[in-house]
């Protein structure tokens, strides 16, 4: 009789310990996934700033060579100010698209200027900007990946219960409009 009681008590303690372990597991998982989201969001910002810094330098380098490409150059400047003056998230996305497109056109047109292409400074800037644009794209991709993992945990059982207890909600993914992916039309 005593043995049975002891056995039962041990069993109950064991179950409680296991439940606590599961709780710790999910709590930590949810926090970690959330931190990953915040981290990747910050990463996007870092790359956007980097791009903004590179542009004045680029404009200085090309304006001597591409004197007759007023439209292409103006598009970049216009897009950059639109980005700096953007207030709503939607304006931000539109301006960002505009800038990416304007830069693509600029580099496409630069193909016609062999002197410019031989300029070491220009090559460096082109490599840097390509690098930065790629990083922006991958940072956004990683953001969405992180949100997916987080949402999966928070929406499925049993994560759903823990998320409720911690008052954590699902997060939204970034919508990247396809305007970003258009091939720029270049007039010759």
């Amino acid at each position: 009789m005593d043995l049975l009681l002891i056995g039962l008590i041990i069993l109950v303690i064991l179950i409680i310990v296991i439940l606590i372990a599961i709780f710790f597991g999910y709590y930590n998982k949810i926090i970690r996934f959330e931190n990953r989201i915040d981290n990747s969001w910050a990463q996007i910002d870092v790359q956007l700033k980097r791009r903004a810094e590179l542009i004045p330098n680029l404009m200085e380098t090309v304006k001597g060579y591409m004197k007759h490409e007023k439209e292409v150059l103006e598009n970049v400047t216009k897009a950059r100010s639109a980005l700096m003056n953007a207030k709503s998230p939607q304006e931000n996305i539109d301006a960002d698209n505009m800038l990416t497109g304007a830069l693509k056109s600029l580099f496409a047109v630069a193909e016609n200027y062999p002197d410019l292409k031989a300029n070491q400074n220009f090559l460096n800037l082109q490599d840097e900007l390509t690098n930065t644009e790629n990083k922006i794209a991958y940072a956004r991709q990683h953001f969405n990946d992180s949100v997916l993992v987080y949402n999966n945990t928070v929406e499925t059982i049993p994560g759903k219960w823990f998320a409720g207890m911690m008052n954590k909600k699902t997060r939204e993914m970034l919508q990247i409009p396809d305007a970003d992916r258009e091939v720029p039309k270049v007039k010759f």
């Binding site: 990747s40 790629n134 990083k135 991958y138 992180s146």
Partner: protein
Amino acid sequence: MEKKMLVEEHIASNKRKTIVVCGLMALLFIAVVFAFGYVFIGNIYISLAFALPIAFAYIAITYSTSVQQILSAAKAKPANPHIREQKLLINRVEEMSIASGLPMPKVYVQESPYINAFATGKDPEHSVVCVTTGALKKLNQEELTGVIAHEMSHIKNYDIRLMTITIGVVGAIALMSNILFYSMFWGGAGRSRGGGRGNEGQIILIVVAILLIILAPIFSRLTYLAISRRREYLADSTGAYMSRNPEGLAKALEKIKDDSVKEKPVGSKTVAPLYISNPFKRQASGSAWSTHPPLEERIKRLRSM
């Protein structure tokens, strides 16, 4: 025609199959330990006490083989940002590290006319990616990105750790089998096993144990190679997801297929599974003895994603 499968399905399937093959390896190890115990010592627990330290020692030795040694054997140098094509390499590695969320690995370059790349390091915080100069010359940026994504997938999936442990187990199995074999050769099989058991039963068990001892090293090697191939497919699919562009790696693999160079490759053979294609053997066609799946099949699967 490969059925159109989502990248995620490829990844899940590859992970499942790895577990199956690793399970096989574990069973093999246990069987050899038992055979060792039964034939040699007559007591399974002592045999386990003997076998486990051997296995751990093997693993510890191979694991601690410093990354530096692997890099020196390959004559790899840190990537030089002042050389444009190496700066571009660093840029692509930075991009993949952002896409994967992994910390930025060290980037090295190996002088070699072949197109190839490898990754090493005991965990993502201490990882290294190395690409050949041949690859930098012959691949465009899209293909290079595909190759880098594949290598970083090895890092992400802890393949280096997995393969090191696996080769440790293979080594331990081979060592135990050797000891058993030679000890039996020079008389001494079947010591105290307690009297009173039927002779036939004992003989059958001894025969089984002997067969196991002879075949285990071969089977464990085959299993190791099966695991290696499985992880290659996994790195292909994880890399495709990372770069969102399976075609990049597919094109690079096609260039590797047609890559023909007469020079003899330099480096340590243990790292062979970490390369994107085995540099020591031209294994375009598959076989149970390849560390890598056949290039044709890898390209086919990538294009079906």
